[in-house]
């Protein structure tokens, strides 16, 4: 006997993600799911954003890593609430892990929540967490062909940050070709050129973020 199912495999994750979003909305928290390959600058971007916005916005951070709490320790120095998730081998965060993490956060004291995903351009694209925006960092040393290699990730991002832009004079990276590829499959994506070292573009990025937060 054949039974029609027609159900999304990740519908269970989607349900928990919706519950997370509902909880975050009820507490007035704007959540950002930050994704990139390992070493593209997720933690550095969070640190720079904290420095830029700390006086205006109450920020919290969930750190996702396969192992270690190095990133949580770095963020903790900025005196913002941080929870570390160690996925123990899983290559992405899922809605259930985030649900557990937010239950351990003082949500009433947070307006902007960064969820730093596991460094990976494939798996995190599939799993919604309950975030309001998906942000993708792609850095200059990774090369300009990444949109073609990881189209799903680039298709789902609300903004793409080209990080380490200060390295552009030293490496081969065609910004125009990269931006055209991103815009081609994702017309809604904003593209920012930033450097967490020289601080180029950080102000544009944080202004955009504040605008999105106010429109939530």
């Amino acid at each position: 006997m054949k039974i029609k199912v027609l159900k999304d495999i990740l519908s269970a994750n989607e349900q928990i993600a919706q519950a997370n979003r509902h909880l975050l909305n009820s507490k007035g928290v704007f959540a950002v799911n930050l994704m990139s390959s390992p070493g593209a600058g997720k933690t550095s971007l969070i640190l720079e954003t904290i420095k830029a916005l700390k006086s205006k916005v109450k920020i919290g951070v969930i750190e996702g890593d396969v192992s270690s709490s190095l990133d949580a320790a770095l963020i903790g120095k900025e005196d913002v609430p941080v929870v570390q998730i160690n996925t123990g081998g899983e290559c992405h965060l899922d809605a259930n892990m985030v649900s557990n993490a937010i239950s351990n956060m003082p949500l009433q004291d947070i307006e902007l929540l960064f969820i730093e995903n596991v460094g990976n351009l494939i798996c995190p694209a599939e799993f919604t967490l309950g975030e309001h925006k998906k942000i993708l960092i792609s850095s200059i040393p990774e090369g300009d062909d990444k949109p073609f290699k990881y189209p799903l990730m680039f298709n789902k991002a609300d903004a793409v940050l080209i990080n380490k832009i200060d390295l552009l004079p030293y490496l081969k990276f065609d910004i125009q070709a990269f931006s055209q590829a991103v815009k081609g499959i994702n017309g809604k994506a904003e593209i920012f050129q930033i450097s967490c070292v020289t601080k180029q573009g950080i102000q544009e990025w944080t202004s955009w973020l504040l605008t999105k937060m106010s429109r939530k």
Binding site: M1, I9, I185
Partner: protein
């Protein structure tokens, strides 16, 4: 690597549906997988064989209907298969595209006894 989480989710969905239908055994699972998801069929079957041991889904075969990525041109509406490194419309040459297929990840049907 995300195959384990995806297989776990799929396995739970299949068991739930099979139990609802009061099935004794699941023979086959028909999945529809978009190629853009990067899900590897062999890995899914491997994890499934492990997870399903001792359940009514043990021994079930999984069929994968792979869906190639397709885009629709936002200028002339032409729908075409997305080729590697060439994301322009074959008809009008525009590069504003909407992805219309290739992101699927669902259980189409199950075959049970």
């Amino acid at each position: 690597m995300h195959e384990l989480a995806i297989t776990q989710s799929m396995f739970e969905l299949v068991l739930e549906q099979a139990e609802k239908a009061k099935a004794k055994k699941v023979d086959k699972i028909n999945l529809v997988i978009g190629e853009m998801t990067g899900v590897v069929g062999d890995c899914v079957q491997f994890y499934f064989n492990f997870l399903s041991q001792g359940t009514l889904a043990e021994g079930a075969t999984i069929s994968f209907a792979m869906v190639p990525p397709k885009a629709q041109c936002q200028n002339c509406d032409e729908t075409f298969e997305l080729k590697e490194f060439d994301w322009t419309c074959p008809k009008c040459g525009d590069n504003k595209l909407q992805i219309v297929a290739g992101q699927e990840l669902f259980v189409e049907s199950i075959e049970v006894e």
